[in-house]
Each structure stands twice: as C-alpha cells, then as structure tokens.
C-alpha cells in the first residue's frame, strides 16, 4: 500500500471573477521509503501540491489518502494532529523561532503532541535529534548564531523529533550555497537509508533533484513526467562532514 496516494487532485483559487487552477487533476502514488524530487517552473503548482501533501491545505476536488486514510475532508484540528505525528516539514527559509535556542526550536513539535511528554523527556528527545545531525555542540545557540547550513540542520532535527513517517521539504537548499546544499542533501539521503523515511522534496535545480530515487516534473498544475532515478552516490560523506564543520565554524566567527 502506498504511503501517499493522490487521486485526481484539483486545487483552484477564486481570484475575483476568474479562477486560478493551481492543480488540474494530479494522480500519484508514493511508496514507503521513496525519495521523490518534484521539479517544475515557477507557478507550476509545486508548493500547492506540497501544502496538500502536508495536510496544511485541503484539495478543492479529488482525494488524498495518507497511510490509507482519506484526509481530504478532515477538520483543522484533526489535520494538525496528523501533521504533528506523521509529517516533518523543512522550509526554504528554515523558519526557526528567533531568539530561541536550537534545542528549544527542536522541542516545539513536542509541545503540541498528545499526550504531552514531561519537560525532561522533551528536552532529551530534542537533544537526541540534534545529536543525530551532529549539532549537539550548538544546542544552546540562537538561530542568529548559526550558519545557514546549521540552521537548516536544526530545522531537519525539528522535523525528525516526533519520528514522522514522511518528510516534506520545499526547496530546502534554496537559501544555501552549493557546498552546504550537497551536505543537506546527503543528510536527507542518509535519513531515508537509515530510517526508511519517505521524503518528498521540491527543487528548481536538476543537481538537487538528482539525489532523489524518483523525479517528477510538474507544469501548469499537471504532472508531465515521472521517472525513476539512480540517486547521486553518497561518496565521501563522512569525509565531507568532517571538513565542513570547521569551515562553518570559521564562517561563523
């Protein structure tokens, strides 16, 4: 059974007299553990699709089955619970809370989990998530004290802290330089391979899309191509990470 199943999904916005059709009937199945890269020109409906996949928005027409459950018509609070438990978001702009330490940022999803974990356990899990991304040294730093790559890793830790089955990333490398982008992509690749998490990623750049196991191209609210891909190999990952740490620290200083 696919993790994600979109059935003739449509989304349109009424703008005054005319209607904008952001999605014009998208059908798509994504299996567990896939790393799907979605590409397409600006305004093609990628983000709109991502919002629906992330239960942030509801389709105008069609059905969205997440883990076999139809979530197209759930209430706001029910969708909030699904986002909290099953989905981790990574944004282009990192979206960390300012003047809030890294570990507190990572804890935020846990504040909205039901039942609420005790404070000590929340802290523990946030620290573990940071640790798994090599950020344990930065737990008490504010976002302004972190480099872009580090901020995005904090955001990934936040997406992982509630152990979701799906990670949605809308242009996660959009604000990063090439080197840091590669680092983040390898991180995501690593997550998929070690934890078996399904990842859906939006990007403009073909080199970034090349990390996916499947590449989908969207144009004018429709899927125009859907091909399997052999992901860019993960060579020298360990080496690179070791190198990048001091480099980032230097950039920070």
């Amino acid at each position: 059974m696919p993790v994600i199943s979109l059935q003739n999904l449509k989304k349109s916005y009424a703008l005054g007299d005319n209607t904008v059709h952001a999605l014009r009937g998208v059908s798509l199945d994504i299996e567990e553990g896939e790393f799907v890269a979605i590409t397409g020109p600006s305004g093609s409906g990628k983000s709109t699709m991502m919002h629906i996949l992330g239960c942030l928005d509801r389709p105008t027409e069609g059905h969205y089955l997440l883990g076999g459950e139809d979530v197209s018509n759930l209430s706001r609070d029910a969708l909030a619970d699904i986002r909290n438990r099953q989905i981790g978001f990574v944004f282009q702009g990192f979206n960390l809370l300012p003047r809030t330490t890294a570990v507190e940022n990572v804890e935020v999803p846990l504040l909205y989990s039901r039942p609420l974990l005790p404070a000590a356990e929340r802290r523990q899990r946030a620290l573990e998530a940071l640790d798994s991304l090599g950020l344990s040294q930065r737990a008490d730093h504010h976002p302004s004290q972190l480099s872009g790559g580090q901020q995005q890793r904090v955001a990934i830790a936040r997406a992982l802290v509630n152990k979701p089955s799906l990670i949605l990333a809308d242009e996660p490398t959009g604000n990063l330089d090439t080197k840091t982008s590669i680092e983040v992509m390898r991180l995501l690749q690593n997550l998929r391979e070690s934890l078996g998490i399904t990842i859906v990623l939006i990007t403009h750049e073909p080199e970034i899309a090349a990390y996916g196991t499947r590449i989908i191209a969207v144009r004018d609210g429709e899927i125009v191509s859907d091909v399997a891909n052999t992901p860019t190999p993960m060579e020298h990952v360990e080496e690179d990470q070791e190198q990048s740490e001091p480099a980032l620290a230097a950039a920070n200083a």
Partner: protein, 473 residues
C-alpha cells in the same frame, strides 16, 4: 500552561518597547482602581467609625439608683426615684403618653427616699456575667476610684490623690489618647504593676515644668511610676485632688477593696445598644436575685439617656422624653447611618466607574499590542500550525501573553496605586485603606482584562490559514 507562560514572557521580551508602553497603560488602569477603591473604602470606614463614635454604643452601669426620674435606661418606669411626691404620675409610663393624654391618671404617692435601693457594689462576677451572657457586647470594663493618702515626698505639697483603677479596654471605650509615653499594657493590667497614667493638667499641677514620665508617686511605701500622659478629661475637682489612673488590681490593693464603681459596656453597633442595655439589666437583676417587685439597685444608662438633663426639668417631661428616647435614638441614628452609608456607596460607585474606564483604556492597549503582535508573528503562527499546533494551542498562547502583560501591568499598578494612596493619605489627609481582598480583586480584574481583550487577537491568530500564515513576510 507553564510552557505558554514561558513562550509569552519571551515574546514580550522580544517586543520590549511596545510591551513596556502597554504595561504603563495597564498599570495606570489598575492603579486607578486601587486608588479609587482604597479611597472609597477609607471614606466608608471613616463614615462607619464616625457613626460608631458619635452613635450611642456606650452603656454605663453604676451601683445604686439615685436617678431623679425613676426610669431605667431603656425608658421603663421603675419608680425608685424619690423626688416626686405630688402630682399625677402615670404608673404605666410606656402605655400612655404622659403629656398629651388629657385624662388625669390616678395620683400615686412616691416615697421621698433618695436611697430607695441602697448601693450594692458592682463586682467582677457581674462583669463576667455581662461579658458571657449578654449578646452583641463588644467589650466590658470596670473602674473604681477613691482617695488615697500619699507618702510624704519633698517637693509635693499634696497629701492625697484620687486613685482611679480601670480594666483593659476602658481606655478604648473612653477614647483616651496617648500624648506621651504609652498606655498600660495587658500584662501590667493582669499583674497589677505599679504604673500610672496622668492627664496633662494633673501632670502640670503635680510636677510643674518637669518631665512627667520621669516621675512617680508613693502610696503606703509603694512607688507608682508614670508611664504615660494621656488626654483624659478629668473632672475639675481632679485638679484639687489630682487623679491618677492605674491598673484595676493595683487600685483595689491601694483602696483595699474588691468592688467597682462603674462598669462600661460597648455594644456592637448603634442598633443593638438599647437591646444590650435591657439585657444587662435582666442579667444583673438575675445575678443579684432581685425579686420581681423590687426596684433595680443599679442604673444602666446609655449615652443618650445620660445626656438628657433630668435635674431641674419637669419630671413628667423628663419621663416622657426618656420613655421615647430609645426608639427616637434608634430611628434617627439608623436613618442617619443609612443615608451616610448610602452617600459613601454612591461616592465609591462613581469613582469606580471612572476607574473602570481607565481599566478599559488599559485593556484596549493590551488588545492593540496583541493585534500588532499577531500580525508581526504571522509566520511564527504558521510555523506552529504546521508543526501540529491546534487552534486552542494558539489561542492559549496568545491569551497567556495578554494575561501576562495585563497582570504584570496590574502588579506595577498595585505598586503605583499604593504609592498614590500613601500620597493621598500623607499630603491630603484623606482616609485610605488597602485591604488584601482589594489587592486580590485588582489582580483578578487585571487578569480578566487580559482574557477579555486578549481573546479577540488570540482568536484571530488561531483562525489563520496555515498556508497563508507560512507565506507571510
């Protein structure tokens, strides 16, 4: 909830200037409430105390019954007085009006004995009986006085002093105020410590131009030291034979006796005075085992009856007035008290209205900063929604923020209000009272203001569309 508080304080710290301004607005509102209710309450208490101090709540019990008009303190005739021997006397003083009633009533002969009922001294047993058996009694205290010869002292020309012994509370009932030194303490009352109080006039007469607090008098070898100069209205005779006021136990020892001259009773309120006077009379009659057909051998007088001139007036008029005095004083006092209280309440209500308006202004300030905050933090709200916050989570977060702000302003306002009351008291001599309940009420009001004015912005935040909020700048 704690998490929300934490988030709230952080959010407010990030927005310092605005938060500080809102805090000011809020604190002024709460300060107004505190000042107004403090002044209102002060005025009310002052009115109460004026009613109390002016109103007849003091009842005096003396032994013996020498009153001219043979009426008891509550207007009942007991015909034990001895001046009237002729003329029509209404034996049922309560039932008929002796003045307007034209029909002459049967003349009765009243014996001329002034000491119809001989003085039977008052004792501690009676004080205890009044304290324990009569309801609505606030305090009871006895006093005794007598002349005691002084041991020879070099500078003193006086050979004898009037020693006035009093029990605890007597000074309160008599309204004594310490001018210098201190009152006699409860321990000194209990132990009969040789200490005394004097009036300024007596001090001046005994020790002209000297510090009275350093002086003492010696009675039968016992030195009694002055501990306080108290503004007591001594009778004029006390200048000739100077009166000193000492603990009861000491006075009894010096006077070599156990009895009292007078017992003073303070009733709980003006309205209960006449009832208490009646009850005292009943209790004392029981205590003294007086048969129904005998007269009181004591007098129970209230302030109003004692202020009525009885000597030199027509006894019939006197009796008529006395007979109606109880009801008269009750009605007029109660009415006056009621109208004064009403005035006090109206005053408080008006001021409270003004305070409520300023609290409203403070609340609008809170609402304003919260609306600004919601707009400024739309992206954060979007993020929180994306991470799984339900509507109520966002609501709570913003209400907690508003309440934190309002209560912090409230605390500041309490301090400001307290200072305001101090100023009012010190500089303008206005009566101001700050009670714990008022502090609580002000804080609760601040909290409610936070909730009421935070609700709208919080609701607006919670209802944001996550997608739109995430895209916000």
């Amino acid at each position: 909830m704690l998490i929300n508080l934490h988030t709230a304080t952080r959010a407010l710290r990030q927005n310092r200037l605005q938060a500080a301004l809102t805090l000011c607005g809020m604190s002024i509102g709460v300060a107004m409430v505190v000042i107004v209710s403090g002044l209102g309450r002060g005025a009310q208490l002052q009115i109460e105390s004026q009613i109390e101090s002016a109103g007849p709540t003091l009842i005096s019990v003396r032994s013996g019954n020498f009153s001219t008009a043979a009426v008891t303190g509550n207007g009942e005739q007991d015909s034990s007085g001895g001046e009237v021997s002729q003329g029509p006397v209404d034996p049922f003083g309560l039932q008929t009006d002796p003045i307007s009633d034209a029909a002459p009533v049967t003349p009765v002969t009243v014996r001329k004995t002034r000491h119809r009922s001989p003085a039977w001294p008052l004792t501690q047993a009676e004080v205890d009986a009044i304290a324990s058996q009569v309801e609505d009694v606030r305090s009871v205290a006895a006093s005794v006085a007598g002349n005691v010869s002084l041991d020879e002292q070099p500078q003193l020309r006086i050979r004898v002093a009037r020693v006035h012994g009093f029990q605890t509370d007597w000074e309160v009932m008599s309204g004594w105020k310490v001018l210098r030194g201190r009152m006699v303490t409860a321990q000194e009352h209990a132990a009969g410590t040789p200490v005394m109080l004097v009036s300024p006039a007596v001090a001046q007469r005994l020790w002209p131009d000297q510090d009275p607090l350093l002086q003492q008098l010696s009675f039968a070898g016992q030195d009694v030291a002055v501990v306080g100069v108290v503004d007591i209205e001594d009778e004029s005779s006390s200048i000739v034979v100077p009166t000193v006021h000492v603990p009861m136990t000491l006075a009894q020892q010096l006077l070599d006796g156990q009895s009292f001259d007078e017992i003073n009773v303070r009733s709980r309120s003006v309205a209960t005075t006449s009832g208490v006077a009646q009850a005292i009379r009943r209790v004392l009659r029981e205590q003294r085992q007086l048969a129904d057909d005998t007269f009181d051998d004591f007098r129970v007088t209230t302030q109003s009856t004692s202020s009525m001139p009885s000597l030199g007036t027509d006894p019939r008029l006197s009796r008529a007035v006395h007979a109606n005095l109880v009801e008269l004083e009750k009605v007029s006092w109660e009415e006056m008290a009621a109208s004064l209280r009403q005035a006090g309440r109206t005053f408080t209500l008006l001021l409270t209205g003004a305070a409520a308006v300023s609290l409203l202004v403070g609340g609008i300030g809170v609402m304003n900063i919260m609306l600004v905050s919601v707009v400024a933090r739309t992206r954060e709200i979007g993020l929180r929604l994306a991470l799984g916050a339900r509507m109520q989570d966002i609501m709570l977060q913003f209400i907690a923020e508003a309440v934190t702000l309002a209560v912090a302003g409230g605390c500041l306002g309490l301090v400001l209000g307290y200072l305001g009351l101090l100023v009012a008291q010190q500089s303008f001599h206005w009566a101001a009272v700050l009670e714990p309940a008022m502090v609580m009420a002000a804080l609760v009001m601040a909290m409610l203001t936070g909730i009421v004015f935070g609700y709208g912005p919080a609701r607006r935040a919670a209802r944001l569309d996550p997608v739109v909020a995430l895209k916000a700048e």
